[in-house]
Amino acid sequence: MREESTILSVGIDIGTSTTQVIFSRLTFKNSAGYFAVPHIEIADKNVVYKSDIYMTPLKDRVMIDGEKVRAIVAGEFLKAGFAPGDTQTGAVIITGESARKENSEIVLKELSDFAGEFVVSTAGPDLESIIAGKGSGAAAYSKERQCTVVNLDIGGGTTNAVLFDCGEVIAKGCLDIGGRLIRVDQDMKVTYVSDSVRRIADHEGLDIRPGMEADYQTVESICRKMAELLGDWLEHKDSPLLDSIVTPGSSPFDFDKPIRAVCFSGGVADCLYVHKEGPWNPYGDIGVVLGDAIRQSRLWSEYRVVDAKETIRATVVGAGSYTTSVSGSTIAYDRDVFPLKNIPVLKLTVREQEHCFADDREWFREKLRWMLEQSDSEQLIVAMKGKQNPSYTELRRMAACLSGVLDETLPPGVPLIIVLEYDMAKALGQVMTRMLKGKRDVICVDSIQVDQNDFVDMGKPLVDGLVIPVVVKTLIFG
């Protein structure tokens, strides 16, 4: 019996300014003792290769140059020594201003032979915040220490914030504050000033416009104000200025718990944890000054500061290492029909699942018809919380309801897929299989949390077929 499996995961982050690739090995291991039911978890996430950081090739201001992206990715596979097909899971994340449906289609088309099995998703500001917070290590810190940690991913154009409480996301948001919002050329002339910087400058009575001489005092004052605004944002000190620089499309950064620690990632974090010696604008922008301003602000002095595991690579590491999760270790599936891709979810609430436990088929039939009309997909996942310790009677009623109704409603040949949170999938799956007498495949997994509107990928079974890797994604097209 094999107690361990390893899979190779690739993460590709195509952002407004940079494109990066990483490869990581995910190790699945049985952590349960000899006398217990197996418990497989992802024991290790080891980044084995990090690419150079490329400028994202663009055709115009927002459209990605698909062929050039393909060349970058192909080059990195070669340098890393992996062939397309070596990777079993992973994610391509398109972030920032590149996050549009057209770009997602271009990337999908160009990368399909590398990325046949990956997730391609365009991350809205919210998803980007979460992925960066996982990649930076903030989520793990929050889980280990059982506390609230905010991760501020300060990039070129935006600051993505996510607040974790015991490893769970409780708030996310995005501000137009970043290191490349003022750009300066070699002759110290200002070449670009963003709308958000203009608003901050107006508010402070400062003058900075393209074509002007870049004055350190002015830049420093603006960066100090940016740091102050970030502090205000974490402390709910609303102001018209703060409201005016919230990134369009981001969630309101609302929460009602005190923040216990702060973690910084993104390009600016590299100039933040330690002061960079030398001229103030080595990159032709304000990243170094903004980093210094934050280190001198109350964000640094009044919160516990967590060392980020990844800074500029937080998003790509998040995409490569933290998008795959593992099912419960006692699950049921009749045959290896995996991988399954992009299956929409019908989520039943705790109250709604009672209809299934009571074998109320009429109700469930209606709900299912509605869902099939809503989504174009022929396949779907029925997801619910389940029960902590169901009785066999309840279990049989539920199996009868699910298998009966799903079998008559779904198109022929489509497997019945059930996703639960509580540990009861093997029991439910076995009963359903018996009731269907081989008419259809049954796939029943647990320990996975999904929501309505999510899409789920299920990979090939691992560790002697005990578990399957699962990717839950929320597709957000800009």
């Binding site: 000899y34 310790n389 066999y392 029991a427 076995q430």
Partner: protein, 317 residues
Amino acid sequence: MTQMDDMINAIVERVAMELSKGASAPKESAQSPESPAPFDINRVAKKDLSGGNTAGTIRETAGDGDLVDITSPEEKHKPTLSHCEDPEGLERMMRSTPARIGVGNCGARLRTQTMLTLRADHAAARDAVFKDVDPSVLDRLGLFTIETKCSDKNQFLTRPDLGRQFDDSVISELKSKCVMNPDVQIYASDGLSSTAITANLENILPVIMDALKAKGLKVGTPFFVRNGRVAAMDQISEALGATVTCALIGERPGLATAESMSAYIAYKATVGMPEARRTVVSNIHSGGIPAVEAGAYIADVIEMMLEAKASGVDLKK
């Protein structure tokens, strides 16, 4: 004022009240539903134990509905530690473990409530060992009962060897009532926790039986063994000629749960075989692996054993 003082005052007050009532009122009316129930240490209202300044008042109408079960998970997860830095964090930690953390102290000793909970849990553990399995559970499952050579619980506890053996008459009764030479023989036994069997058996035995029958296996007649140790399965296996024998048995209760059950499963078990030939699925209870899920898993393990013709360490190789 310490909590112990609160408690003592409450008890004294209550006993005094009972005594005065008993003296003045006729017996019938004292037992009528309107009058307060006799004092019972297990029926002390929660607020009297948790400290605070309400000088230990006992609820006048102490019906079960008004009282909290101090051994319930909800109550056990309420911190009694005062002045805690992060109450929410503490509660979360307490929910993640059955260990008695976050309980605080009273000088060098445990608080009254911690002490009472501990004693209540200990009582549940003793009950699990000394009580018998609820006969209605066995009736509903249609199980007949056989006994080992132990005549009572005391002998069962002091003579482990007798808990593994059966009289010849019992063996012939078993042979007459059971299907012989089954692929799989499943039976239940009280072991050291009857409570575990009462709590889990109905949700696990039919799951395993149904799953094995669906695999086309010949499943033996299930029954119940009173005062049985794990290795009693060896003599049963030999007597019935079972290929695989699976014993569902109550585990020695701890202070965390008295409901934990295990399944010991062996391929061609024989008397005197090494313990390493047993496969164990442990921790079956509502806070561990749920009974139905464990049943589904056990059915797969048994199928695997029949294919590999091995069990225990030999199966894991």
